[in-house]
Symmetry: C2
């Protein structure tokens, strides 16, 4: 946690609002704000250190509440300039916190169940939140091209944000992706480059490109801009608490891909506590994975501190990172808060997508099936307390993973007359 | 216009807020609120007559501004009970009004160009707005099943709203729809009935079912609940004006399917003027159709008062109504306001989808391609004034009409190394 740190002589003069410096999560070494992501001392991951020292709690609360209905209401807590809302970007966030009373009844939750539904973002996933931060960093560092490696949601989010902001974009994907995902990534008019190889090959190539003169002036949102990018997930924590009436939930169920989102949600909650915007009380964070890519839940259950990589094989493709960079931090947070990390089978993912849709009218992508499925499993196993206020994240949109529920279809086929209607037992 | 009408002895006691009665748009005959849609005197269409007489302008404005970030901020102007925001529904609306400066530059608009982007609604189309009204009417009249005939957006909106509200749903579609649309309509768990026949057959069957005991207790959102349902489109007008700072735009470009949306947007603007919430000044409404289904633009250009039905043949399937019920009213409004009704080819629709995506990062469904394409054509032809403030509607989501832009794809395919990257001319 780097709240209320004081500016030092190493701090940057780049205007990214309250962001004061980059600080190593392992050794604490501090460097000026810049497009770097690994510590020069110990190779640990860098994250943003803020200077929040000037804030008065009640003034800050009022400023937030008077802000726009998007993530920029939290600009005072993000690595972005104060006038960010005036710059062209997709203005994601302030998505619905759905009070899920029907789902609560089905699951036996009595303490209040909510679904934070990030399918309402501009490109229909939480990735718009993180890309919006990376875009501001790219502006600050003078980059003119936005880039990333992706297999889906991120490609669309980067393409759309770059289009609106007037950046060139060049996105790298495996060349044999499904046509639907290719169309979604290509429609925004940037360069969309298929790499002959798998996602690992794409990633390796991007790392090579960053070190080459050809990659100069390029902001890779999830590589050299990663410290900024990752902070976008804090806004999920801020919104959940504000939408609950500036109250911490007792329990949160968060999907794990790289684990970055879960760690930043924890960071956001801790900031709200330190800033006095919410009461300081315990909360538990639960991580959710698909069984076919469950390196973190496997490590958690085995009591390990390190995460052993897995080869992913699951329909929850947006969570299919076999070697999650933030895995060890996730284990720390789940253990520190008294949470748990659990996984569900692909069949349970599909069932959970259907359960959420038919109880709340929310059509989640497979990642949302993972969190709802894990919530059910944790309740059934007595790990999650049904008497406590619980928030479950849906980070994407079912329209993007239609294949996963392709078995869903017509309940009847009839001829266009009442006799046929009655014969089908529909009357 | 039925603003500030006074309650009469025929008025209903059903609590739908300021809705006082149903009134015939042709002969003015007034009947109590109920699940009826055609005038018993002249068979004209019924619409809601309101009693807004108690409202003080500034109090109303404050009440709206303090309301939730969804359509229920306008509950005082809608046929819904005052406590509607507390009932389970999808809470649609308050979607982004995107300041489209990049698109404005491409089109030569200097007076301010905005895209009202309704893809941000819960099921990603404006249909959530109208279904939310029909749901409240269904509750008021004691219906327990929500139904409709649909070929796409409406099926999903009804299924989702019914699921969340705890209604049974039974939606009728042609049996041979694309698999993607079937999945989207089926995921919410209601009955999804395929009819062996085309959309006309589906509609005819629904009319038969309404008159049969088997259809008792069923609210067909776009048939017997149509007067309530249609009012949801007024919220587009309210939001646009409030988001412009309680200001009328000079020009609006609105898609035409049945024509209902355009007529209700005009009704909403007129209400805001009469209530004093915006300045009374002229505005022009432009209607947009696809050339392959352009009965209204054909009639407009020919100077006719009646609309001759067409057999639709266009990729803009959500607008493909060959015999639009509100066609004559649309002609009236376009002529009264000094607007125009124009159409574009399918090729222009696809081009316009790409134009909007690459300038503003908004991925519109084909209906959005129609409005953006028509806007471009109207400017090129000198009909729409580029020096005036203009709002273009995007009523749906590109993810639902991927086939229309299936030609969009990779800009290059390379091997995972820098040499291949350079050879492709990407450096």
């Amino acid at each position: 946690m780097a709240v209320q740190t004081v500016a030092s002589t190493t701090d940057s003069t780049v205007d990214l609002g309250p962001a004061a410096a980059l600080s190593c999560r392992e050794c604490g070494h501090r460097v000026p704000l810049g497009p770097v992501f690994a510590c020069e001392e110990c190779f640990g991951p860098l994250e943003i250190a803020y200077d929040f020292s000037a804030y008065d709690t009640e003034q800050l609360r009022k400023r937030i509440e008077a802000g726009p209905a998007n993530i920029w209401r939290y600009a005072p807590l993000l690595p972005v300039p104060a006038d960010v809302a005036d710059k062209p970007n997709l203005n994601p966030g302030w998505t619905k916190l759905v009070k899920a009373d029907n789902l609560a009844r089905e699951l036996g939750v009595t303490g209040g169940l909510y679904v934070k539904d990030d399918s309402g973002n501009p490109t229909h996933s939480f990735k718009d939140r993180v890309v919006a931060q990376a875009l501001e960093a790219a502006r600050a560092f003078g980059f003119t091209t936005l880039s990333c490696s992706s297999t889906g949601n991120l490609a669309g989010a980067v393409g759309a944000a770059a289009a609106r902001a007037g950046f060139r974009s060049c996105v790298f994907i495996p060349h044999d992706l499904e046509q639907g995902k290719v169309v979604m990534a290509a429609i925004y008019g940037g360069e969309l480059v298929g790499i002959e190889g798998n996602y690992d090959d794409v990633n390796r190539f991007c790392s090579e490109l960053i070190g080459d003169p050809a990659g100069e002036g390029w902001g890779f949102v999830n590589v050299n801009l990663r410290p900024y990018y990752a902070e976008g997930s804090k806004t999920l924590a801020y919104e959940i608490c504000e939408q609950l009436g500036w109250r911490l939930p007792d329990q949160l169920v968060v999907p794990i891909a790289s684990g970055s989102q879960l760690t930043k949600i924890d960071k956001g909650l801790q900031e709200l506590i330190k800033l006095g915007l919410v009461e300081d009380k315990p909360y538990k964070i639960f991580g959710a994975q698909a069984e076919g890519c469950s390196p973190v839940s496997t490590a958690f259950k085995a009591g390990h501190d390190v995460v052993r990589p897995q080869k992913p094989n699951t329909i929850a493709k947006s969570l299919a990172i076999g070697n999650p960079a933030d895995g060890p931090y996730v284990l720390d947070i789940a253990r520190r808060t008294g949470g748990f990390v659990e996984d569900v089978t692909d069949e349970q993912v599909v069932d959970a997508i259907g359960l959420l849709a038919r109880t709340e009218g929310v059509f989640a992508e497979t990642a949302g099936g993972v969190t709802v499925g894990v919530t059910k499993k944790l309740i059934d196993n007595g790990v999650l307390d049904p008497a406590k206020t619980t928030v479950v994240l849906n980070t994407g949109d079912g329209l993007k993973t239609l294949d996963a529920v392709a078995g869903t279809g017509l309940t009847a086929t009839i001829r266009p007359n009442l006799d046929s209607f009655r014969e089908a037992g529909l009357a």
